[in-house]
Amino acid sequence: MPGDETAEQLLPLLVIIPIFAAAVLIAVGQRLPGRLVGAVTLIVVGLVGVGDTAALIITWHRRIVSWLGGWRPGRGGSGVGIAFQADQLSAGLILLAAGLMIVALAFSWHYFQTPGSHFHALMLFFLAGMTGFALAGDIFTMFVFFELMGVAAYALTGLKVEDPSAVQGAINFGIVNSVAAYLSLIGIGMVYARTGELNLAELSRSLAGDHSPFVVIAFVLLCIGFLVKAAVVPFHFWLDDAHAVAPTPVCVLFSGVMVELGLYGVLRVYQVSFADTAVADGIGRLLLVLGIATAAVGAVMCLLQRHLKRLLAYSTIAHMGMFLVALSTGDPESLAGIMLFVLGHAAVKGALFLCAGILLDRFGSIDEFTLWGAGRRLRGWDGIGVRSIFGLAALGLAGLPPFAAGLGKSLAETAMSEAGAGWGPAFMIIVSALTGGAVLRVWLRVVVGAGSEPEGIEAEGMSGDEEQMEVDVGEDIPNRMIISAGVLVAIGCGLGLVPSISAGVTAAAARFLDTHGYVAAVLHGRIGYPRAAAPAPPGWDLHGLLLSGLTMAAACAVAALAVLRPRLPGGQRPSRVVRTPVRLLRRMHSGRVGDYVVWLLIGVGVTAAMLAPG
């Protein structure tokens, strides 16, 4: 165990090392061969991953608080410097980001033939932005790293310069996220004007007990940027456009960790600074209503998509809805379940995106109908690999027992039913079944080739045929692509089996909700955790297994119904009562940035109305 000071001193290096490496790559990248640039990037991200793991191990026993430049606050308790704070949740998130990036870089080893190291430098900037955002203990520093994450993500989204398909997905993503960041900055200005402080712990002290409507408005404006990044309805429109055009390895990071960081931002700001204010009595209602709306829109749109990447993007939106609903109860058990669910979802969703990328590079299209029966045309080990990984990941997403996503879902379900939300488990099962069913439907049609050859069924929505191959792999799919997808599925399954993970997650949840512990650690240096009974690691119980089995059955039913619908009597035309709302929902996702900004404005009003006291 390193001395108690070294961890504090080295914590900021987790942000500085990737930026240093990116700067060096920009300077000399043109002259280095592509293979060396990729290797250097992988080594640097690996180094950051090792640092994150060390931070996670240390935060198992105490928090790490690092005041930049030695500007520790004086006796009066309010300082001028910036604080970094790492506890188990933030260390786990940055480790997840580094791990997903290692797999994404391994998958895209020879992706961009163009000279220069822009892709790798931007990925390192993206990692530094995510790490800095998760560690920041200062609302303006969170804004700066939110912008760094954004700028790197806009460039990575639009990187396929040759791609004739929906390249304006990057501009929608850029404009909507920037508008949200500026509204957050207005919120930061308001909080600063009222309290004269920017540090989260200091804000917690000066906002304690403040029940004026101002606090509610400041919280809403401050969290708009994070809610947009978390793709919560009505701010979610940019996510599917960005996924439709972004290269596959970037999509893995978007759905795996960037969207979850938005949710982390909301929770951290609320839990530390606004937990003892007028926001506290409205937050449960807000998360519940936004969660249900997000899950509903995500699940329905997920069933309507034929473009694989957009389908997976809507599945991520549906899962964000489930996370919000489970977190609305506000007790540690549901937070622990959601943490495990996020880890499992990131691994399994990443594997699905990689499989979609493999199909795109092998067959030149990512459209469900064009790829009908494509899985069978894959020969030998490639075919077996893709078919099994795609199937396992689809089942894992729907909550197959050994997978971490399934365990997280069942923990959240039991927590919600104990917290009095009896309808909770039913809601989670329905949404998981719908999204899992959609992905299983794709598995049946694309990989197994079930159902009739779809000719002439010109379903609406964006077809995936325009999408251009990212790298032409020809007949033989490179092994590194299949291995990286397999590794992600294995991680998704492993996380669910290792008991110490679920024990750590339960402890992390309790420590995240401990506001006084955070303030004492940051301001007064008391970084130890309060003595808490070592909780028995929650695992699979009969109740959980039963619910998971029910979810699996429902998901398979949805998939089978969707595939066999044309043959069923009268199954051709869905009834009018279904078609009109679906058409309305489809027209709302217009792909036009002006509409998205209008929805964002309406969202600001709706969020404030829901949080308004009384």
Binding site: V80, V144, F214
Partner: protein, 257 residues
């Protein structure tokens, strides 16, 4: 959504946003009040480190990480723009006939070019004493270099600012910023600590690392803005869409830089 529906929803959204902002602003202290606790702490800390320009003290000494993040955002956006605007197969570089420049303009730019460079360097060097600093000085220098294009020819500008050199100085600016931060870590145990002797208020050599960090930021900003403008100038002036008719292969090689 049709235009009319979008207008209605826009008005609804605006009403909601106006009420939100109104309630928020009403909770703020009135404009021009005297209650600024962070300012008192920042001024005290800045004077302790003998930095005359408190804004530079906050930027480069007390909240150095924000400035580091800001520089990284600029360098990342330069890398992004370079990646997005890289010449593609269907583009060819063409030699444009140069627009004749009036002699008076040529004379003015010949006079202003060195003056602008001096102003930029002065603003950057005196960051800790007078208004200005690495960032402002850097942008003044970068726009100054482009006076050559106004007064001379685009090819003269291209010769006078070799882009590979600026890519190295941009990365060097960021690396030096990190090196100074790491020196603070090595010596005093915290990244970005002001470890140099701070000297006397108002002197050129004062406020320790603030001057050095300001210089590093200036170097990074000069090169970032030059590369950004070069990217856009290149697109607008030098690159030309190859009509699909004569899809000659040599055009593609020439386009790839």
């Amino acid at each position: 959504m049709s235009r009319r529906v979008r207008m209605i929803l826009l008005v609804v959204g605006l009403l909601g946003a106006v009420t939100v902002l109104a309630v928020g602003v009403s909770g703020l202290p009135a404009f021009g009040g005297h209650h600024h606790p962070y300012r008192d702490l920042a001024v005290a800390a800045s004077l302790r480190h003998a930095t005359a320009n408190v804004v530079s003290a906050v930027n480069f000494d007390q909240r150095a990480l924000d400035t580091f993040g800001e520089e990284t955002i600029l360098v990342a956006s330069v890398a992004g723009v370079a990646a997005l605007l890289r010449p593609v197969r269907r583009e060819r570089r063409r030699r444009r006939p140069d627009v004749p420049v009036m002699d008076s303009t040529r004379l003015l730019t010949a006079v202003f070019f060195p003056v602008t460079l001096l102003i930029g360097i002065d603003v950057m060097a005196h960051g800790a004493i007078t208004p200005g600093g690495g960032f402002q000085g850097g942008v003044v220098l970068a726009t100054g270099i482009h006076l050559l294009y106004v007064g001379g020819r685009y090819r003269l500008l291209e010769r006078m600012r070799p882009l590979p050199l600026f890519e190295i100085t941009e990365a060097a600016g960021l690396v030096i910023f990190i090196a100074i931060g790491a020196a603070g870590l090595a010596v005093a145990g915290h990244v970005f600590t002001n470890i140099l002797p701070q000297g006397q208020l108002g002197r050129l050599i004062s406020s320790g690392t603030v001057v050095l960090l300001s210089g590093a930021v200036g170097m990074a900003v000069v090169s970032s803005v030059v590369i950004l403008l070069a990217g856009f100038l290149d697109q607008a002036l030098a690159l030309e869409e190859v009509p699909d008719t004569d899809q000659d292969s040599d055009g593609a090689e020439e386009a790839a830089r």
